[in-house]
């Protein structure tokens, strides 16, 4: 009697241990072993309960494994119907409950019917002399298993050692006011219209994450230049080991000035390997005072459109704070405009407006340095 029901105790016990291992957060390998037992226990027990003991060994293994795959599907659907959230604890609970119910079902089943003579089970009938696996064959099978598992280990090593071109990631992403630094990863899809994900647009942002990730395969040293309206705003020297990330938060906007971050991989400080922008185009306003005899007292006032599209501009020339002259013009991408104006240092200033916005100048030049 005890031996007949030993399988129930073993399956039930292992499953309960698996459930306990989940609760107790036992070390990884232990949880894997017990978790696998917990996963397959319901299938075995329900296979015993439904199909009794009328199966060959192979059929028992296959139906147990098959039911182990079926039960979570049907159980999960049941939980869905009962509005029980299917988090990890729920799955473990489901498997434990299925196991316990299976123990009861098999026990009842075995109490109701006498033991089956397995020799009478179809397919279990002896077919001539019972073949036994010789010792050397077990060794050969073992060797085959070692080679098979070894091939996986070899492939893991080979794939791990595969050479790929290195790269360095540079990114600048808007960080909306309500969004903190992206420490956690959350894949939960938002409720509602899937075409309207819940990320706040750039234009609302006041800060941005500036990130450098080294995937070059070796430690590297970088220089990162942040340009504001084409002028160097800040420089960082960054040394990163392979796989290491550097991150900072910068003041950010997309509406009043251009931001561009250029990343240089040392020792090359001439050409950046990566660059990112805040999406604002770049219009250059310059007022360059004449330095020769023939142009002294004048200045070259110019505008160059590098916005990527055609833009309308207004330039106001101010003398001692009063508007002396105004120009309105349109420039295509890549075009420039230039005029010669009377110039007095510290008195002459030019304001550039990006139409239709005339409330705040886009850039200002005073002849000392370009805007």
């Amino acid at each position: 009697m005890y031996r007949r029901n030993l399988d129930i105790f073993v399956a039930g016990g292992l499953a309960l241990l698996g459930g306990a291992a989940y609760e107790a957060h036992v070390p990884g390998p232990v949880q894997v072993v017990l978790g696998i037992a917990l996963f397959f226990a319901p299938g075995y027990l329900w296979s015993e309960a439904i199909l009794s003991q009328r199966l060959t060994g192979v059929e028992r293994v296959l139906t147990s494994a098959g039911l182990s795959l079926i039960l979570p599907i049907l159980g999960g659907f049941l939980f869905y119907g009962l509005r029980i959230p299917l988090f990890r604890s729920a799955w473990v609970g489901l498997l434990v409950v299925l196991t316990l119910l299976g123990v009861v079902a098999v026990a009842v089943q075995r109490l109701r019917q006498p033991p089956v003579d397995t020799r009478q089970v179809p397919g279990n009938a002896p077919q001539g002399p019972r073949s036994r696996i010789a010792g050397w064959q077990i060794v050969v099978y073992g060797l085959a298993a070692v080679i098979g598992i070894g091939s996986v280990a070899f492939s893991v090593k080979s794939a791990d050692a595969q050479k790929f071109p290195g790269d360095t990631i540079l990114s600048m992403t808007a960080q909306p006011p309500q969004m903190k630094a992206p420490a956690s990863v959350n894949l939960v899809v938002p409720e509602g219209d899937p075409t309207q994900p819940n990320v706040v647009p750039n234009s609302n942002a006041t800060q941005a994450n500036l990130v450098v990730e080294n995937h070059e395969g070796v430690a590297e040293t970088y220089t990162l230049n942040l340009m504001k309206n084409g002028k160097l705003e800040k420089t960082w020297s960054i040394a990163l080991a392979n796989g290491q990330t550097w991150q900072t938060v910068i003041t950010y906007t997309t509406t009043s000035y251009t931001l561009q971050a250029n990343l240089y991989l040392l020792p090359n400080l001439i050409k950046p390997i990566d660059y990112v922008t805040n999406g604002e185009g770049n219009t250059q306003l310059y007022m360059t005072p004449g330095k020769n005899k023939y142009d002294r007292g004048t200045a070259y006032l110019g505008v160059a459109n590098e916005e990527g599209v055609t833009k309308q501009y207004r330039v106001e020339l101010l003398k001692n704070g009063k508007v002396a002259k105004t120009w309105n013009f349109t420039l295509k991408q890549g075009q420039s405009w230039q005029s010669t104006v009377a110039y007095t240092k510290n008195e002459t200033v030019a304001d550039l407006y990006l139409l239709p916005n005339v409330s705040q100048p886009y850039a200002t030049a005073n002849g000392v340095k370009a805007g």
Binding site: Y22, G35, I36, F39, I50, T56, V58, E59, L62, A65, L67, L69, I70, I73, G76, F77, F79, Y80, L86, F87, R88, A90, W91, P122, G123, Q127, S131, A145, I147, G148, G150, V152, F154, S158, A159, A161, P165, D167, S171, T173, A174, P182, V185, L187, V189, P194, Q196, P197, V199, P201, N202, H215, T254, D274, T277, G279, G281, E306, E307, G308
Partner: protein, 627 residues
């Protein structure tokens, strides 16, 4: 001569073949113990894996020694198993099961060894995403951007979530276990079904060997995808249904009937097509049983067919109404293709990437050989087994082979559709082919030639299996893992794509509508949790940002655009640069078509790794602002 041994089912209404079938002639291979064959197969796995390693270290599929090692390994796996299964030397049921298991596990190990560090097969990313969503949301029908229809068939995500929850394994490890177990179960249940129905483990073994010629079996049907799991339930249902019909005891018949019903429910929840095929199979055997006068079997299968049909209809009506719209284009394409074929003699199917000539020849020969075997098998079935409902059912089912051929030749995407359908079509085909093969080699003229005939048969069957591998997946241009290829499925899944996708999730959040090339597309879904778009070629087709392109971006609600400078340097071996694009690329992309995004006011260049760049189109106002 040993044959018809190892009956697993009890004799009942199902009548078996009325004469003892004889297996082919003995050969040298037949003297090799099964344990040694297992060892040789393991060595074969290692040799093929060494081929993969050479591919990784060098030029991928262009590496001659790597390809040679890969095929040598395959020969070491297939030939001994095939030789032993086809030989006439005694082979017990246990040995047959061992050989079938060895073949299945060896091929699965090769699939694992192709990408042992993480998923690279595109469809696996879709279910990776589904599983992560389920684990984190605790909900059953969470939106899956890459596979919206898969949202309504959550079986594999449920099983994987349960396993992950119990063991703490990663999604990748748990996915490999679930897929591998399901694949092995499918094969072994199919074998048991053949044994129960044909009542000869020898012929069942040969039939299953032939089944390995199905192009998708060792690739698509062993990936971490919903069909892989559903096939296990289909196989289990076949066994349970047959046993519920042939068991002597009414109690046993009821018990197996319960198992069959559970399998039907699990199949319906897990995969649409497999549930339809299961219903068709049950109907087919019910009809065949009625035709052969096996009323009880017909009643059992008929009842199961009704349960299956009702389950499918209810599932579509109440849970998965999208299924109809999902399949509509495919059905329309098939109908249009057949119409075009009838009217003009040409299907107007778009050209596909051409395979090497050797693959084409192998494919053509396989079609010829299988067609002949089916014809002979049908003749045998009608002459000798016409009162055997299962075999008559398989005979009727083998008509599907010719429909499959029609789809392959006559419809758009016919090659892919036919390859996927072959998983089901090959079931009746391999039964008939096994009957034909056994009969042919036992015919008097052939027996005179003895070992020579055995050699020819083994060579032919091995050729069928090699054809399944050569014309299956991965295709010839990524036979071995290797360097990055643009927009080319597994060959495009490199650390760079994975890093970029992880970055999108971390810094952009999930669910963004991203225009991207076909290479990074599945990775963005899987690891990025993003919603990459299909049919977005227009965004990459002009050197400047025109009003038409802007309008297209607005219409598609594109939030981010991804560009990859490698697209400007080489053509995609898969044929298309962008997902959903049916026009085969004949020239590389103009660099200006990618760099134009640098010059658009308001379009922020938010990510740059020197090759891949992401642009944010939202600030531009071209698309609705996010809340």
């Amino acid at each position: 001569v040993v044959a018809m041994g190892g009956s697993l089912g009890s004799r009942a209404e199902v009548r078996g073949p009325d004469r003892v079938e004889q297996a082919p002639q003995a050969s040298v291979l037949s003297r090799i113990p099964v344990s040694v064959i297992t060892l040789i197969a393991a060595v074969g796995v290692f040799v093929s894996s060494a081929g993969y390693a050479i591919g990784r270290a060098g030029d991928g599929p262009s590496s001659g020694p790597g390809v040679a090692l890969y095929w040598l390994g395959q020969v070491l796996i297939i030939v001994p198993v095939a030789g032993r299964l086809l030989s006439r030397r005694h082979l017990s049921n246990g040995e047959t099961i061992t050989l079938v298991t060895v073949l299945t596990v060896a091929e699965y190990l090769l699939k694992v060894n192709y990408s042992p560090l993480g998923f690279t097969f595109n469809d696996e990313f879709l279910h990776y995403s589904g599983t992560v969503n389920m684990l984190q949301s605790g909900k059953l029908f969470e939106l899956n951007y890459g596979l919206p229809i898969g949202t309504h068939y959550p079986g594999i995500e449920e099983v994987t979530s349960a396993l992950i929850s119990a063991t703490g394994l990663s999604v990748f490890a748990a996915g490999l276990i679930v897929a591998g177990l399901a694949h092995l179960l499918f094969i072994l249940f199919l074998y048991l079904a053949f044994c129960v129905a044909i009542r000869s483990h020898r012929i069942a073994g040969i039939a299953l060997l032939l089944y390995f010629g199905a192009p998708a079996l060792t690739s698509f049907n062993s990936m971490f995808v919903y069909e892989t799991l559903a096939l296990a339930f289909l196989g289990m249902c076949m066994v349970a249904a047959l046993r519920s019909a042939i068991e002597k005891s009414p109690s046993d018949r009821t018990r197996w009937f319960i198992v069959a019903v559970l399998c039907i429910f699990a199949t319906v929840i897990t995969h649409h097509i497999t549930s339809y095929m299961l219903t068709a199979f049950l109907i087919l055997v019910a009809i065949a049983s009625r035709l052969t006068g096996s009323r009880n079997t017909a009643a059992r299968f008929g009842l199961l067919a009704v349960i299956s049909l009702l389950s499918v209809v209810c599932w579509i009506a109440f849970i998965a109404p999208d299924t109809i719209s999902y399949f509509s284009p495919t059905v329309t394409g098939i109908v249009d293709g057949i119409k075009a074929l009838q009217e003009s003699g040409s299907s107007d199917a778009p050209a596909t990437a051409s395979s090497p000539f050797s693959n084409e020849v192998l494919g053509g020969l396989a079609i010829l050989v299988i067609s002949v075997l089916i014809a002979v098998g049908c003749w045998q079935a009608w002459r000798r087994h016409r009162r055997h409902p299962w075999i008559i059912g398989m005979m009727l089912g083998s008509i599907g082979w010719f429909v499959d051929l029609g789809i392959r030749l006559g419809t758009p995407d016919g090659q892919e559709l036919a390859g996927r359908a072959a998983t089901f079509v090959y079931i009746p085909v391999c039964v008939l082919a096994a009957l034909a093969l056994t009969r042919l080699v036992n015919s008097k003229p052939v027996r005179r030639w003895g070992a020579a005939v055995t050699a020819v048969i083994v060579a032919s069957v091995v050729s069928l299996l090699i054809d399944g591998l050569a014309n299956g997946w991965p295709p010839f241009w990524e036979r071995l893992p290797g360097p990055h290829l643009v927009s080319s499925f597994e060959s495009s899944v490199n650390p760079e794509e994975i890093q970029a996708s992880n970055w999108t999730l971390k810094y952009l959040g999930p669910g963004n509508r991203i225009a991207a090339d076909a290479g990074i597309y599945p990775v963005l879904i899987g690891y990025g949790g993003q919603n990459p778009l299909q049919v977005i070629t227009e965004l990459y087709s002009t050197p400047s940002w025109t009003p038409a392109v802007a309008a297209f971006a607005t219409g598609q609600n594109v939030e981010y655009v991804e560009t990859d400078t490698r697209l400007t340097k080489s053509l995609p071996p898969a044929g298309n640069y962008f997902p959903g694009d049916e026009t085969f690329a004949t020239e590389t992309i103009d660099p200006a078509a990618l760099t134009k995004y640098n010059d658009i006011t308001g379009v922020a260049r938010v990510f740059d790794d020197g090759t891949i760049v992401f642009y944010n189109l939202m600030a531009q106002g071209y698309v609705p602002q996010k809340p």
